[in-house]
Subunit: 404 residues, 2 copies
């Protein structure tokens, strides 16, 4: 691939100091060769173009999306996890029907909002083909779910089929991975099997964890709303939680698992997660389903990534919107410092959590970056904040050095 140079008024390197190059640039082919001053790089390499009143930064990583639910607008009930899950059980089938077009639009929405990499939670495999042929860099999390012991064998073989199908599509941009649905919904026989498999084959793992207070009550006491959910909806009598919280966490010891939500995890549990794993927070989804957002001060920022979740629990999948709403949701934090942290969470920190070779404009990293027009950005000394406030859609996006 021919080397190119792209420059912009402001280049957000997304290194840990959040350094910004004024009139900066990167030289790149599939990888980034160099980041630096535009004039210097333009003299050194061919094919240099500069963009005024633009911000150049690493493409975002949206590490938790359910693409298969992209048909949804109004079918699910918000305001309580119990009501939401009940509405999911009732209306899921309608929403999942004919979802290919909606999945395509959701992929486009990722690219338009500057997302280059995603963590896609695939419950049924409906999104596999579209994601594999999309420009996105995809961690494709084949999901296992099921708590009924009599269905364990069937569910595992169905899971294996999907995993095998995804392996056949594997490329450097499409990475087969494993999601366990949650501690309240995956039988321990299944959990143990897939975790062993993940360890053996070195596959990335993701799990919904302590999203609701109802889940916490169930795991701690086998009581509360999940008791009736098990008995009435899943028709399982005398159901009890299959794990304590500690037992469940112990399954993931030493693994770099992505723990999604963690709204009701306590300090010790979060510390345990952060030893080798990390947390993914979905602010809009959490607000709509549980009237709560993750305490950003409870763990180091480097351990937190931001995601949109699926349209099953969000009004759209626009990553820029997610960042903007997050800025206003955490409304007591200094807006400039929060903006820098959110941009790092969406690039550098997420890349580390997902073990992707991107998220920072630095030599030898994948050339995954995005260009946005931000009118009058040169007039600002609060670039990260003004970027989040004003970024509308990508002007250019490159993944592995290729423009899409």
């Amino acid at each position: 691939m021919k080397t190119k140079v792209i420059g912009a008024s402001k280049v957000f390197l997304c290194n840990e100091n959040f350094d910004i190059l004024e009139n900066g640039a990167i030289a790149f082919n599939e990888k980034i060769l160099e980041a630096g001053d535009f004039q210097t790089l333009a003299s050194k390499y061919q094919n240099a173009t500069f963009y005024e009143q633009r911000v150049l930064l690493p493409s975002f990583i949206n590490p938790h999306i359910h693409f298969e639910f992209s048909n949804n607008t109004t079918a699910f009930i918000y305001g309580g996890f119990d009501k939401w899950l009940t509405s999911i059980m009732q209306n899921r089938d309608t929403i999942l029907q004919d979802n290919t077009q909606a999945i395509k639009e959701a992929i486009k929405e990722q690219l338009e909002s500057g997302v280059g990499s995603v963590g896609a939670i695939s419950s049924y495999g409906d999104d596999m083909i579209e994601l594999a042929k999309s420009p996105l860099k995809v961690l494709f999390f084949n999901e296992i779910i099921g708590s009924n012991p009599s269905a364990v064998d069937f569910l595992y073989s169905n899971f294996l089929e999907r995993l095998e199908a995804s392996k056949k599509l594997a490329t450097k941009k499409f990475i087969p991975s494993i999601a366990l649905h949650s501690p309240y919904s995956v039988h321990y026989i299944l959990a143990k099997k897939v975790i062993e498999l993940a360890k053996r084959e070195n596959l990335k793992t993701s799990v919904h964890f302590l999203e609701s207070h109802q889940e916490r009550e169930w795991l701690e006491k086998s009581s509360g709303w999940f008791k009736s959910f098990y008995e009435q909806t899943l028709k399982l009598k005398d159901a009890k939680s299959l794990y304590t919280i500690q037992d469940f966490l112990a399954l993931f010891e030493g693994m770099d698992t992505l723990f999604v939500h963690c709204l009701f995890a306590n300090k010790e549990e979060l510390q345990s997660i952060c030893k080798s794993g990390s947390v993914i927070s979905c602010p809009r989804s959490n607000r709509l389903l549980n009237n709560k957002i993750f305490n950003l001060d409870s763990i180091p920022s480097e351990k937190i990534s931001i995601a949109t979740d699926g349209k099953s629990s969000n009004n759209n999948l626009n990553f820029l919107d997610e960042l903007r709403y997050t800025l206003f949701a955490y409304n007591t934090k200094d807006p400039l410092e929060l903006s820098k942290t959110l941009l790092l969470s969406s690039t550098n920190f997420a890349a580390k959590a997902l073990k992707l070779n991107n998220g920072i404009l630095q030599k030898n990293k994948d050339a995954d970056f995005t260009l946005f027009e931000i009118p009058n950005i040169t007039a600002s000394s609060q670039e990260a904040l003004q970027f989040i406030l004003h970024a509308k859609k990508k002007e250019k996006i490159f993944i592995n050095g290729e423009e899409f």
Copy 2:
């Protein structure tokens, strides 16, 4: 004007119970004649049209906007009122230059986001002509500002000139009114004069009040950041606050004044305001300038309206965006109940605060209403919430029965 009937899948009356008519309609000319079932009204009147998967509701009232600052994107500093006001003093002139086109776009943004009535704070009169000829229903608040005693006469006569000019443009849709900038910036000689004038001529009044902790410290102790602002920026030596908080509030006793922001007002002060006045809250502006949002539980909901403020302290003036960000900013409140309250604050409650004859779909009210497409709204039992989540731009807007 010929009577028409417009019907929609869901009609939000915006009465205090937040009643919703399924397949409802209104019959109207300049005024609303009747709200009810579409079929019934269609049989009774001519010219009936029904819109599927649409929501019909009163047009929004955006009671506090500085249209004159519509040129701004990145010129001002956020994260602290002190830093922001310093940047306003430094960069104001640039932003105010050639602002006519930006004012026109801001007016369009109001209509597109379903706003039919505004409270426009006019510091210089730059927005007077454009607002007077716009479709909007306008409370045009001519603003008085100035704390230097030697400038009082000049400032008052300049204010009177603008007020007189606005009176010449007065119509039933363009209502000359008075804004006092704030207790830290208006000399008491000016304040007393304009308040007397407002009482004598029965003009509506608006005032910024306790927006920052710096303002509170200044009013209470004549110390803190405003001390240096007075001495260094305004070149006034030995400056002291011209009011105590109580003295300032006493000026407005018995008046239906709009108190804007009130972030740092205590319970007693808020109670005093609510006796005959009301509070306007600008959530995004407050978050960006003061890292704080108004406590919605501190006064009755009926006393709170929601506004965008100007582009001097917001990323846009889209009223639907303001409602959406507010929904996510108050993230511990039940989202459906909060949505109903926010919609009432933006219609019924704001109309009462501004003494406008609209904000509710009810016989004899002005026919000020808007139609929005909300895909699959008929599938939802949480209509107010889904409306806020999914409303993008108005399909139709009527003001005094005329479509714009």
